[in-house]
Structures are given as structure tokens and as C-alpha cells.
Amino acid sequence: MERDVYWYWLNNIEGIGRVTIRRLLEEYEEPCYIYEEADSREIACLLQTLDLSMYEASKDSDRLQREFENLKKKKVTFTYPGKEDYPERLYNILDAPLGLYYKGSLPETTQKAIAIIGARNCSRYGREMARFFGRELAKCNIAVISGLARGIDGMGHQGALEGNGYTLGVLGCGVDIVYPTENYELFMKMERQGGIISESNIGIQPFPGLFPQRNRLIAGMADGILVIEATEKSGTFITVDQGLEQGKEIFALPGKLTDRSSAGCNNLIKFGAHLVTEVSDVLEVLHYKDGNVVYANTIEEVSDAQQKITLAPNEKMVYSCLQIEPKYLDDIIMEARIAPQDVCMLLNQLIMKNLIVESGRNYYAIKL
């Protein structure tokens, strides 16, 4: 068998986790030695009885070959420490993964990477910000890494794709499983324009216990972590804690004090995270060491550029009533102080010009 298959085998013995594998590797150095040469009595000293039976049962070279071929057929690549495509950043983290499955490509080691993370249940402000930062950072050649979940994660990826940059999704389940299913389209795009990686073998369903490990990978693959929106007790903080342990830079977007969904971010800032109001805030910190100066658009510039598209005076007036947070049609009518029919007409005109979106039934918001 090939070396890859030996590694694949070692990573897929039921009941044997990273700690045991590490103990075995310390003793034997290479999986092939464990498979071929290890004396069963010696192994028995290193494993518990239950694991031992699993270990014995898993030594089925036909099955292993078949499974490994199946991986290739599904265009899933398997990598492990020591292999040339194994992400270099991961060597630096404690408890590094011993086997990784990915689709698409992995980020260049030289490319700076940022994790954009946050709550699944987020506001439209959060979504738009995640998208904005994803896009603008991607334009500045920063890889965007996240967990391909609902809410902020997905929007970060979305933004990076819009900015034609590289983006990597780290999953808590097999890379052939689209979870949540509503991200299907995004998932497919990312396979082509970026990568999808997981520590779990294909076919493994999402399971709550797998997500903290995934968060450790997100932190490990990135140089900095940007928290867009998170409540005080958000799972996002697992990633942040992991990042802090790994010595990564933490960035956070400030939010309103009354806004519970930003409370976590504000706390982070209080405890010393970088406060981010512009893309360049992130860039400066990331490029601090190499001294590269990259220009990034500010939010004002982007929205001003939108405004510059020629708008009729009344269109401009309605547009000025709108914000990132969606506003109900009647409130816009109140503010614009013109007839409801005219407001409807103007809003739909603006939608046609792609300047605003109807984010929910009769709720309108500007596009960034």
C-alpha cells in the first residue's frame, strides 16, 4: 500500500483519536510501520482492549484501497502532516490535525488569510458587513476563511467570491455534505473558486461535538480573526479563544450598545481586540511585518460610488431614506413625505438599478 493509504488508515480507526494516534506515531514514526511491523504485544501496551479489537479489525487492505479510490473519485484530496500540500500554518498549532480532507484548493502559504466569523442568526447589518469585508479583503488578495455556516460565515464567503478572491470553508462534517443545505450554491462555487476542508472523513454527518474542532482549524488556517457580529455567549468565541491560544490577531466590528447581537464584539474590543471600522484597519495589522501597503475602499467610498450613479432628484431623496438595516415601506413613505404610490414606484426603480434590495416582504435596504 501507498504511504497515503497508511495515513488514511491510521486516521480512520474507529475509537482511536488524535491523542492515541500521536502516542503510536511517537513510538513508530510512520503509519506503515504500525500497520506492517508492529508487534501485537507492543501495540497492546499502547492501546486499550476495546481499541485493540478495532485496530485489528481495521487492517483490511482491500477495503482501505477501495475507500481511498472512492475519495479520489469524489475529487476529495487527503493530506497529512509531512505531505507537501499540508497547510504549513497548521504545524504551528497545538493538537494539529493528522489527516485533512479537502475539495478545491488550499490557500498559498504566502497569502495572508483572515477568518470572518460571527453569529448564524445575525442582522442584515451583520450580513452586509460580512459581505463587504469579505469582498474588499478578497480584492486586497487576502484569503477569507470561515465555517460555511448560516449567517455571517456564509456571507463572508459570498463576499470573497464577489471580490474574486480565494476563500476556504472549514466544515464540521464530511466535505461531501452540504450543511446547511441552503448554502448549496455557495458550496458549489467555493469548490471551484476556493476550497472546502474538513478533518472528518467523507460521509460523516454534522454533529455538535465536531464543531469546536472545526473552529480550532478556522483559527489555525488564518492569520487574523475578524468577528462581525456575535452575542455574548456565541460559539464564535470558541474560535476566538483558539485563535488567542494560537497567537492570532483578533479584530472586531463595534456595534450598538443596545444591540444584543453585537454585545460579544463590543466585549472583545473592551478586552483588547482591534477595533475595525475600515478594511485598512485589518490590512495594516496583517501587513505590519512585511510592510506592504495595500489600498482598500472605505465604506463611505463604496456607498458614495453607488450614489454617483446618476439618480433623479426624487430617486435620490428616497435612496437617502434607506440604510443598511432594512426599513419598512410605510416608514419610508413617512420619511419621504410623498405619496405611497410614488414611493413604491421609486423603490422599484432603485431595485432595477441594483442599488437597493427588498430584503423581506416590503422591507428595503441599500446594497453596499
Binding site: 432594512p326 419598512y328 410605510d330 413613505i333 413604491c344 431595485i351 430584503s359 416582504r361
Partner: protein
């Protein structure tokens, strides 16, 4: 000794004539009733016998046979008590036979001989008139609803004794004056659009919906005013015409829901059935079918609050009646057709808790919302042209000083729009924009080059379906009519896009 008296019964919302024959002969004293009778009709024998005795008429024990013909029509209801008594008294010789000829008699008897009211008087009277009957004796409490049919002498009686004395010419009962009605009914509403504060867009959308008789779906949190505005829709509809009122009164008469003092339905109906309603109650039905809620909402508004809580299969039963404006119910005894030309107004919450997209209140997750919205019946949504979101109004809006438009003004605009539509659509044998079939849309909307381009752009931008695009055009046509514009312009289409029936949240995007 044999005699017969005319009476009537109901078949759906139509009347039928029934001949009540009574024969008294020598033999063992019995009281036999024949003629395909329901049990409440059969019970009449006891009521009649007791009432006759208590009214002071001696009925010697003889063999009594009563037949209700035609024998193939099932007789239901208690309205045969009075005609049976009269037929018997004639057979016994109390009343000369010729005195009862060509008089139709309807009424229920109580044991002391009083005549009680019955339901379904108007259709019977209307039918009797068409059959050439000129005099009708009926319960005093029902006299009002019968008096709208000209050409028939209506005699309201309070007791059996009074009836007999009237027939004998001993007592003169002044026949009811015919209340000649023509043109329009005068509606009396307690509600008014001016009561609704704020909610400009909701009012505008509702006005458009009524102007084109488009079915509309309100989407909003509890307490936002969905029911409040729906209740006021009849106040901006044109007044009922006399013919429409008679049609409605018949339905209400059959269901025994008429206001006894008034007799006629004046207001366009607003029906708001609870979501626990059964199929029979909504569509109409029963062994001897009675009109359901959709028929009670005829010429008016059927409001389905908590649209998603209704049983899907029951909601979907309304598909065919919604399109045809009438419902045919087939039962063992025949099929019954009830009119049900109504405007459907539905209201639903946008998520299980009702507060989405207000994230301060709503913590529903996307899968929860998806699961909730999946309950909606797609075929029914296809039949609803307009959709508008409603939001709770703020304190400032509630108490703002600004004058709000009253129903009178809106109604005027609606009537004008209806008039324009009727004239334009007359060649196609339809009256409202909501009924324009897809193949006629192009012709009716008269789109220019610019509008066609806009339609194409909108089709792509809003990811409309062919059906969705058609609905937008129909609504745009109505907006143009409210605007007195002959052609549908870009502005009309753009406004109509705000009311389109689309995804409840755009492209799966959550806030």
C-alpha cells in the same frame, strides 16, 4: 273529504312548490303522513293535532292521511305545520274549500297554536310569484323579508286561529305593503377607513385590491391591523344593487341569518370564519346542502385570518369556486348551486412567532420559518394577486393629528375604477381586471415599447414566474384605472411590483 293547500320548500337557495293534501275518512283513528318526509316533518302530526285542539278546533277521531307532493322531493323543515293544519281544517269542513285555493301557506306551529317563523322565506316567495301565485300566508315575523317581492300579497299571521279567521273573512289582516326597492341599497357601516391610523401603504394596496377585485394576502405580526383593515373593505366597495341584495338575502334567508326587523341585506358581507372551520361549513354542504361561508360572503369579503392555520385541503377546496363564482354541491337528492362571488382577503404571520423581520422580538431560525411557510397552499397563492407586508404602527402614528381619508372618498375612486373596467371588459364578458385571462393581458394593458422593456427587466430582476408577471400586469392595469390612464405605463408597473406575490423573504435571504 279531501282537500289540498299549497306550500313551499327549499332546494338549495331556490324555492319549490309543495302541495299538501289531506284526506279525512271513516275508519280506525290514525294520523298518517306520507311523501318522502324528514323526521321533523313527520313530527308535524303531533304538533298539528295539539295546536288544533288548543286553538279551539275539535278534531273528531278519524282516519287522517296527509300527503306532501311531489313525492320525489324530500321535505325538510317545520314550515309545513300551518299548511297541514289548514288542509285538515278544510277537510273537516271548517273552511270552505274555495277559500284556500291558490293561496300559499307557510309556517311552523307551536302547541298553543301560535305561528313561529321559518327560514328560507324569500326564495320560496320569489319562486311562488314566478309560478303565478298572488297571495301568501306566512309567519308574522317573516313578513318583512317577503315584502320585497312586488306583485304578491303578503299576509303575516301570528296564530292558527287568526289564519282561519282571515281565511273565513272574519278578520281582516292588512297585507304587508310592498317595499319597492330599486337601484342601490343604502349601506350602514359602523366602521370607516378613517379609523385606521398610519398604514398608508396598506390602505393604498387595499384600495387597489378592491378597485380591481384582486384577492390580497396581508403578511404581518399580530396586532398590526390586518383584521382591522380587512373589516373595512366592504365600506369602500360600491353599494349593493337591489338585485345583488335580493340574491344575498336569499342565501341569508336559507341559513336563517336574516335580521328580522330589516328583512333585506343592506351591507356587503364580511365573513371571517375561524380557522377550525370544516369543509362543509366553508364550502356549503350537509345532507340537505346549505350555503357555506363562501356563499355567505357573496358580493363581499371572505377574510381568512391566520391563513396558515386552516387545513390545507379545506383551503384548496375553494379553488374552483374562486374561479367560477359559484359552487355546485352534489348530494344523493340532487345537486345544488350556490353563488359565491367574493373577494378573498387572507392574513398570515411571517414566521411562527409572528414578529419576523423584527429581530428584537423574533428569534425564529430560518429552518423554523421555512417549515412554517411551507404550510401555505401553493395553488391558493396562485389565485391571490397581491401581497403586502404590514407592520405595527408606532405610538406617534397612532395619535398623529393628520386627517386620514374616510371610506366615502375611497369608495368614490373605487366605483370610478369599476366603471372603467366594466366598460373596457364588457366585450370579453368579464367585469374586473382580476378576471382578465392571460392571453388577453397584452391587449388590455396596451404596453408601449418602454413598458415592454421594463417588463422584461423586471421579470429577470425579480425572478418572476410567468404567472407572477401576469399578476403584476393585472394589478398595474387596476392602478392605471385608478389613475384614469388609458394605457398602463412604466410607473404603474413599477408600483405594482411592490405588491407582487413573491417569496416572503427575498431569495432566501434572512435578516
Amino acid at each position: 273529504m279531501y282537500n289540498k293547500v299549497l306550500s313551499g320548500t327549499l332546494h338549495g337557495v331556490e324555492g319549490r312548490l309543495i302541495t299538501v293534501e289531506a284526506d279525512v275518512s271513516e275508519g280506525l283513528p290514525t294520523f298518517n303522513m306520507v311523501g318522502f318526509l324528514a323526521s321533523e316533518v313527520r313530527e308535524a302530526s303531533d304538533r298539528v293535532r295539539t295546536a288544533l285542539r288548543n286553538a279551539g278546533y275539535l278534531v273528531p277521531p278519524k282516519k287522517i292521511t296527509v300527503n306532501l307532493s311531489p313525492a320525489d322531493v324530500r321535505k325538510e323543515g317545520s314550515a309545513f305545520d300551518l299548511p297541514i293544519s289548514i288542509a285538515l281544517l278544510t277537510a273537516y269542513g271548517y273552511i270552505p274549500e274555495e277559500y284556500t285555493r291558490d293561496i300559499l301557506v307557510i309556517g311552523e306551529l307551536s302547541l298553543n297554536g301560535d305561528v313561529c317563523g321559518v327560514r328560507g322565506i324569500l326564495p320560496i316567495v320569489d319562486y311562488a310569484k314566478s309560478q303565478g301565485i298572488r297571495k301568501i300566508i306566512l309567519p308574522y315575523v317573516n313578513r318583512k323579508e317577503a315584502s320585497f317581492i312586488p306583485g304578491v300579497e303578503i299576509v303575516g299571521v301570528k296564530s292558527l286561529k287568526q289564519t282561519v279567521e282571515y281565511l273565513l273573512g272574519e278578520e281582516d289582516i292588512r297585507s304587508e305593503p310592498v317595499l319597492q326597492m330599486k337601484g342601490e341599497m343604502e349601506a350602514q357601516f359602523l366602521e370607516d377607513f378613517a379609523d385606521v391610523k398610519g398604514q398608508r401603504i396598506l390602505k393604498r394596496a387595499t384600495e387597489i385590491a378592491v378597485a380591481g377585485m384582486h384577492n390580497i394576502l396581508y403578511l404581518g405580526p399580530p396586532g398590526a391591523g390586518k383584521s382591522m383593515i380587512a373589516k373595512r373593505i366592504p365600506t369602500i366597495m360600491p353599494e349593493l344593487s337591489y338585485e345583488e341584495s335580493i340574491e344575498l338575502t336569499k342565501i341569508y334567508s336559507v341559513n336563517g341569518m336574516l335580521n328580522k326587523e330589516d328583512g333585506l341585506v343592506h351591507n356587503r358581507p364580511f365573513r371571517m370564519p375561524h380557522h377550525s372551520i370544516t369543509a362543509n361549513a366553508l364550502i356549503g354542504g350537509g345532507r340537505n346542502p346549505k350555503p357555506g361561508e363562501i356563499s355567505l360572503a357573496h358580493h363581499g369579503v371572505l377574510f381568512l385570518d391566520e391563513f396558515l392555520e386552516f387545513q390545507k385541503n379545506i383551503i384548496e377546496m375553494m379553488r374552483q369556486p374562486l374561479e367560477d363564482g359559484r359552487i355546485t354541491i352534489s348530494r344523493l337528492q340532487g345537486s345544488y348551486t350556490f353563488p359565491c362571488d367574493f373577494m378573498l382577503v387572507a392574513a398570515m404571520n411571517p414566521c411562527p412567532c409572528g414578529y419576523y423581520p423584527d429581530r428584537n422580538h423574533c428569534h425564529c431560525t430560518k429552518p423554523q420559518i421555512d417549515r412554517y411557510l411551507k404550510k401555505v397552499s401553493q395553488p391558493m397563492l396562485d389565485r391571490i394577486d397581491m401581497n403586502i407586508a404590514v407592520k405595527r404602527i408606532t405610538y406617534e402614528e397612532l395619535y398623529e393629528e393628520q386627517e386620514t381619508e374616510g371610506s366615502e372618498l375611497i369608495k368614490k375612486r373605487v366605483i370610478e375604477a369599476h366603471q372603467i373596467q366594466k366598460e373596457r371588459l364588457a366585450p370579453y364578458h368579464i367585469s374586473f381586471n382580476s378576471q382578465i385571462p392571460a392571453h388577453l393581458l397584452e391587449e388590455v394593458c396596451m404596453l408601449g415599447e418602454e413598458e415592454c422593456r421594463l417588463r422584461q427587466e423586471a421579470f429577470e430582476q425579480y425572478e418572476l414566474t410567468a404567472r407572477g408577471a401576469g399578476k403584476v400586469l393585472r394589478v398595474a392595469r387596476t392602478i392605471a384605472d385608478l389613475d384614469h390612464s388609458e394605457r398602463v405605463t412604466s410607473n404603474h408597473i413599477l408600483e405594482a411590483l411592490s405588491y407582487r406575490m413573491g417569496n416572503f423573504y427575498q431569495g432566501g435571504e434572512m435578516q
